[in-house]
C-alpha cells in the first residue's frame, strides 16, 4: 500500500546520520524532523538564517523575531547560531549543509528537478530552492510517485521549468526509494505491499530493477 505522508517522512528520517546538518523543505520534509532516530543527533538549518532550529514555541516563548523559512514561529535549540541571509546561503551554496530534503513536481533520469513553477498559474517564486539544490551534498526528493490523475512524476525528461540540473540522486515516494544514476531510476526499496510491477507502471522514466527489491522497513 502506498505510504502516508507520515510514513514517507519516517523513511526519509532513516537516511539521516549522526552529526548531519539538514535543511528540510516545507510539507513532508518538515515532518521528517519528528522521526529522527533516537540514537543520533542532527541539526536543522533554516535558510532564513538559523542553524539549530527547535520546535514551535509555547505561547510564552512566542517571539515575532524567531521564525523559520516557512515564516512559522519556531524556537532555537541550545547551541544554535543565527546569522544573516548571505551567510545562510554561503553555508548552503558552499556545500556545508549535508542534506536537503524537498518536494518536487517532477524529477527526471538526468537528476533534473522541477519544483517551483507551473506556467500559466500564478508564479510565487523559487525562494531558496534553487540555491539548495545547487549547493547541498545530498538531496532527497520526497513526493507522491504519480499525480492525482495517475501521471508519473518520474520522467524521462522534466516538462516544467527546472529548479536545478543533474542534482537529484535519491527519491523517496509513497511507493518506493529510488536512486538516480546512469540516466535511469534504480529501484532500491518498495513500500510494504507494493509490487515492482506497480512501480514500473507508474515510472515514466527508465526504471532499473536489479535483483530482489526489499520492502521498506519501519521497525
Amino acid at each position: 500500500m502506498a505510504l502516508s505522508r507520515e510514513q514517507i517522512a519516517m523513511r526519509v528520517a532513516q537516511e539521516f546520520q549522526d552529526g548531519d546538518y539538514i535543511n528540510l523543505g516545507i510539507g513532508i520534509p518538515t515532518l521528517a524532523a519528528n522521526y529522527v532516530p533516537a540514537d543520533i543527533e542532527v541539526m536543522l538549518q533554516s535558510e532564513n538564517g538559523l542553524l539549530g532550529m527547535g520546535p514551535n514555541p509555547t505561547e510564552d516563548e512566542l517571539d515575532a523575531d524567531m521564525i523559520n523559512a516557512g515564516k512559522e514561529t519556531v524556537t532555537a535549540i541550545t547551541g544554535a547560531s543565527i546569522f544573516n541571509s548571505a551567510e545562510s546561503f554561503a553555508m548552503i551554496r558552499g556545500g556545508h549543509v549535508d542534506f536537503t530534503v524537498l518536494g518536487a513536481f517532477e524529477v527526471d533520469v538526468f537528476g533534473n528537478i522541477a519544483s517551483w513553477m507551473i506556467p500559466n498559474k500564478l508564479i510565487k517564486g523559487m525562494g531558496g530552492a534553487m540555491d539548495l539544490v545547487a549547493g547541498a551534498k545530498n538531496i532527497i526528493v520526497t513526493m507522491t510517485h504519480a499525480d492525482k490523475k495517475g501521471n508519473s512524476k518520474l520522467l524521462p525528461k522534466c516538462t516544467l521549468p527546472l529548479t536545478g540540473v543533474n542534482c537529484i540522486t535519491r527519491i523517496i515516494t509513497d511507493l518506493a526509494v529510488l536512486e538516480v544514476k546512469n540516466q535511469a531510476f534504480y529501484l532500491k526499496e518498495r513500500a510494504p505491499g507494493v509490487s515492482v510491477e506497480e512501480i514500473r507502471e507508474k515510472t515514466a522514466g527508465e526504471l532499473v530493477v536489479e535483483g530482489e527489491i526489499p520492502e521498506m522497513s519501519f521497525a
Partner: protein, 232 residues
C-alpha cells in the same frame, strides 16, 4: 560639527531625497525584521515608479504590501512573492513587474554591491529560467552563471539596537537580509527599536558597522507575526 551623529528625528528626514523611479533595497524576510515606519513613510510620500529589491513583498495591509495600494511599485526583485491578493491582481494586469531571483543569489547580489564586487559566479539557477541569457563559465568541470550585484538609491533597514554612529545589531532571525541591505544603499536608513549610547554595543559584536549607515531613526514596531504556530 555633526561628526558621526546620524540620528534623525522624523520619518520625513529619514527618507528625504527619495524620488520617483528610484531603487530601494529593503531588509526583512516575510514580515520579520522589516522597517515598518520607513515603509509607511514611503507610502505617505506617494513616491511612484519604485523598484524594490526585497525577498518578499509583505501582505495586503502590512509591510511592503501597503505600497501596492496606490500603485507605487513598478518592479519587485524578490525570491518569493504573492502572499497578497493585490499583488496577484497587479501582476496579472501587467501593472507590476517581478524579477524572480533565488534567495541566496539575492542576498549575495546585495552583499556584492556593498562590497564593490560587480558580479560573481554561482551554480544556483544554471540550466533553469534564472540562468537564461546569463554568461556561463565552467570551474572544475561544473557550469556556473554570472550574476551581477544590485545597488539601491536607498536602503531601508530594521535593526534591534543602534548607536548614533550607526553601529547596529539585529535580534534573532530578524537579522535576515538587513545587514546586506545596509551595505547596498547609496543612502542607508536604519529604523531601530532602541537607540543606545556609543560604547554600549561590544565592538566585536556589531553586525553592521556605522560606516554603512547614513541615517538612524527611532521606530515603533507592531511586529506582526505572519504564521503563528505553537507547540502542540
Amino acid at each position: 560639527m555633526a561628526g558621526f551623529d546620524k540620528v534623525v528625528s522624523s520619518y520625513a528626514e529619514a527618507m528625504a531625497g527619495l524620488t520617483d523611479n528610484m531603487t530601494i533595497i529593503a531588509g526583512g524576510f516575510g514580515l520579520c525584521g522589516i522597517p515598518e515606519g520607513l515603509i509607511k513613510q514611503i507610502k505617505n510620500m506617494q513616491t511612484k515608479g519604485l523598484t524594490i529589491v526585497s525577498n518578499n513583498c509583505g501582505v495586503d495591509d502590512f509591510g511592503l504590501g501597503i505600497l501596492l495600494e496606490d500603485k507605487q511599485v513598478k518592479k519587485m526583485v524578490s525570491s518569493y512573492v504573492g502572499e497578497n491578493a493585490l499583488f496577484e491582481q497587479q501582476l496579472l494586469n501587467g501593472e507590476l513587474e517581478v524579477e524572480l531571483t533565488p534567495q541566496g543569489t539575492l542576498a549575495e547580489k546585495m552583499r556584492a554591491a556593498g562590497a564593490g564586487i560587480p558580479a560573481f559566479y554561482t551554480a544556483t539557477g544554471y540550466g533553469t529560467p534564472v540562468g537564461e541569457g546569463k554568461e556561463v563559465k565552467e570551474f572544475n568541470g561544473r557550469p556556473y552563471i554570472l550574476e551581477e550585484s544590485i545597488m539601491g538609491d536607498f536602503a531601508i533597514v530594521k535593526a534591534y539596537k543602534a548607536d548614533r554612529f550607526g553601529n547596529c545589531i539585529y535580534r534573532h532571525t530578524a537579522q535576515n537580509f538587513n545587514p546586506m541591505a545596509a551595505t547596498a544603499g547609496k543612502i542607508t536608513v536604519v529604523e531601530v527599536e532602541e537607540i543606545v549610547e556609543p560604547g554600549e554595543l561590544d565592538p566585536s559584536q556589531i553586525h553592521t558597522p556605522g560606516i554603512y549607515v547614513d541615517r538612524v531613526i527611532q521606530g515603533s514596531f507592531e511586529k506582526r507575526i505572519e504564521r503563528k504556530v505553537l507547540a502542540k
